[in-house]
């Protein structure tokens, strides 16, 4: 106001001053923590920091060491398997459940509640429950054996080659409810007339879903995929609770590698390099999506 009186035009800094003051926490978070923190970590990933961060640059040394570490390779392989399967299965199971729920069924609320409640639980709780269910001495394996199939084998958490699938089962139990909800919202957004037109044309239901409805739900699918994908890279608690990375290093994941090197092995440089690789992975997923969603939007419409 005073700026206005003096100069005849509003002072740029004082304009919306209250709004700027109110936005200080947001600006600090965005610039200092998110931007600054990320740049800091990336810069220090090129140093040989051990117990404390030090600015002595060693080029790509940490990255060479990272990609030579068997434990990191196992982590990446696990992430790839876990990621690909959890994307496919979440989408398929989520969509099928949503399609079933969309058939004007009775007790819809009850079913939705049942499918979604695991999502309210933490990964730690999920991991511990499934650790118990998959326990070979007491869990599913022993129950099936006691029913007569004495050679039945199902102990994923104790078999290195398939342990990551044990983690996957728990993750799907926890997360598919959310996917179902998103898909159901997408299905409800589809015009009734589409269904009527398909019925008039005599197209079978599964074909209508596959060739008409799913293509129409493309935005929902893409959003869901991005949500699942950004969760996959962060997966940590579940593995800690269910297997602690074992047996041996068979169920290690990148997020756990980062934590262990930063806070337990006191090898910060490795931790920073590994976390930078995580950042790159996320960028590969998110940038094309952001481009499609925001950049290409103008051309599309």
């Amino acid at each position: 106001m005073t700026g206005h009186a003096k100069a005849g035009r509003p002072n740029q800094f004082l304009r919306n001053l209250n709004s700027k003051i109110a936005s200080i926490p947001m600006i600090l978070t965005a610039v200092v923590i998110f931007l600054g923190g990320t740049i800091w970590t990336v810069v220090y990933s090129f140093t040989n920091s051990k117990l404390l961060p030090r600015l002595s640059f060693v080029g790509l040394d940490q990255y060479y060491r990272l990609w030579a570490a068997p434990r990191w390779i196992v982590s990446i392989e696990n992430l790839a398997i876990y990621g690909i399967f959890s994307m496919i299965f979440s989408l398929v199971i989520g969509f099928v459940l949503a399609a079933l729920m969309d058939q004007k069924i009775r007790f819809e609320n009850t079913f939705r509640t049942i499918f979604l409640y695991p999502f309210a639980l933490s990964f730690i709780v999920t991991g511990l429950v499934w650790q118990w269910l998959l326990n070979p001495e007491f869990g599913i394996q022993s129950v099936v054996r006691s029913l007569g199939w004495t050679t039945f084998n199902f102990d994923p958490l104790y078999t290195p080659s398939i342990v990551i699938y044990g983690v996957l089962i728990a993750a799907l139990w926890q997360g598919t409810g959310l996917v179902m909800c998103l898909m159901l919202a997408g299905l409800r957004g589809i015009d009734e007339d589409i269904w009527k037109a398909a019925r008039v044309d005599g197209i079978p239901m599964w074909k209508t879903y596959l060739f008409v409805v799913i293509p129409m739900m493309r935005p929902v699918f893409i959003t869901t995929l991005v949500i699942i994908a950004s969760g996959i890279v962060k997966v940590y608690d579940l593995v800690v609770a269910q297997t602690s990375g074992g047996p041996g290093i068979a169920s290690e994941v990148p997020a756990k590698y980062v934590y262990d090197y930063m806070f337990q092995a006191q090898n910060l440089g490795q931790g920073f390099a590994a976390s930078t690789m995580m950042l790159v992975t996320v960028a590969i997923v998110v940038i094309p999506w952001a481009y499609l969603e925001f950049g290409g939007g103008r051309n599309r419409v």
């Binding site: 919306n16 209250n18 709004s19 700027k20 936005s23 926490p25 947001m26 965005a30 610039v31 200092v32 923590i33 998110f34 931007l35 923190g37 990320t38 800091w40 970590t41 990336v42 220090y44 961060p53 459940l97 729920m101 058939q103 069924i105 499918f115 979604l116 409640y117 309210a120 933490s122 990964f123 730690i124 709780v125 511990l128 429950v129 499934w130 650790q131 118990w132 269910l133 022993s142 139990w173 909800c181 949500i227 950004s230 962060k234 800690v240 609770a241 990148p254 997020a255 930063m262 910060l268 931790g271 920073f272 590994a274 976390s275 930078t276 995580m278 950042l279 996320v282 998110v286 952001a290």
Partner: protein
């Protein structure tokens, strides 16, 4: 369905209504209840529902059994002799490291973390969202874009710099530090939530208030806040469940005496020494899951809205 409704509405002239509904065709063609399609449909749903419910059932059943019974029977069998001892032990005497005061300590820590984090982060984010929606200043979009992109960056990338910042201001390892961290990481999604909500309110309201001479804070407190109860509830659900379920930040930013419940639970169950008491473990697991479950069941549809809005954060 429709018959009973018409009957209720018609009150006195019930007979006439029945007559009408019986004589004239109305409503959808009645579908056979037992058809192949329905058997498939409900069959699949029931099988799926069983898969989702089974772990909860096993948790409850296991937590009510004594150890001898667990060693003998299978995990799906209901308890022959119900005992609440595992629950008592999980709450009050189970050991983590050197402490043997059970989950109660973690529970109160979690309460002391969740309550202020939720209140503080929502207070800050709602003002932020309001500023972004109604008082846009130059450069606001730029900062907001960084904030939203930040929601996708893996936490692991930012953890260590935050440790340093917290250490420098002297709150590393304390509850205050952890509360601040939760506020920081809740910021993107909450700000987005509030910005979109305030932007959806009619602009005329805002303009009228300005003409009447109301300023930034007055409009917020007197006009925006009273209209935004639903979005505050959604944000609360999102924050309470998210913060209660957090594990990583709890481990990284606090000392053992301040560990939240999730961390303590993991330490109790996955401790290497001693005999594994599965019943105590399961009771502890249920206890930890209880708060988010109650929030989920009480809030119903609002929970769905909350997670749909906040899925980006998880």
């Amino acid at each position: 369905m429709s018959d009973t409704i018409t009957l209720k509405n018609a009150n006195g002239s019930g007979a006439a209504v029945i007559d009408k509904t019986l004589s004239e065709p109305h409503g959808a063609k009645p579908r056979r209840v037992i058809s192949g399609r329905n058997i498939m449909l409900y069959g699949t749903l029931f099988v799926a529902a069983t898969y989702y419910l089974l772990p909860l059932y096993v948790m409850v059943v296991t937590s009510l059994k004594g150890m001898p019974e667990i060693r003998l029977g299978n995990i799906f069998a209901p308890p022959l002799e119900i005992t609440f001892e595992p629950w008592v032990k999980a709450w009050a005497t189970a050991c983590t490291g050197l402490n043997c005061d059970g989950l109660s300590r973690g529970f109160w820590n979690s309460v002391r973390i969740t309550v202020p984090s939720t209140i503080f982060s929502i207070a800050v984010a709602s003002v932020n969202g309001y500023a972004l929606a109604n008082w846009r200043f130059k450069g606001a979009d730029f900062f907001f874009a960084i904030l939203i992109i930040g929601a996708f960056i893996p936490y692991q990338v930012m953890i260590y710099p935050i440790v340093i910042v917290l250490r420098d201001i002297g709150i590393y390892g304390t509850l205050t530090g952890l509360i601040l961290v939760h506020c920081i990481f809740g910021m993107p999604i909450l700000t987005l939530l509030f910005r979109n909500y305030f932007a959806s309110l009619p602009v005329e309201l805002f303009k009228a208030a300005r003409i009447d001479g109301a300023g930034f804070w007055q409009i917020f407190l007197r006009i925006m806040l009273p209209m935004s109860l639903p979005i505050f509830v959604v944000a609360m659900i999102l924050q309470i469940t998210g913060i209660w379920n957090d594990f990583l930040f709890g481990v990284v930013f606090t000392r053992p005496e301040y560990y939240p419940m999730t961390v303590q639970l993991n330490n109790i169950v996955n401790s290497v020494q001693g005999v594994k008491e599965y019943n105590v473990n399961m009771a502890a697991t249920i206890l930890t899951g209880l708060v988010p479950l109650v929030v989920y069941f009480v809030s119903g549809r609002l929970f769905v809205r909350g997670i749909a809005a906040g899925a980006v954060k998880g």
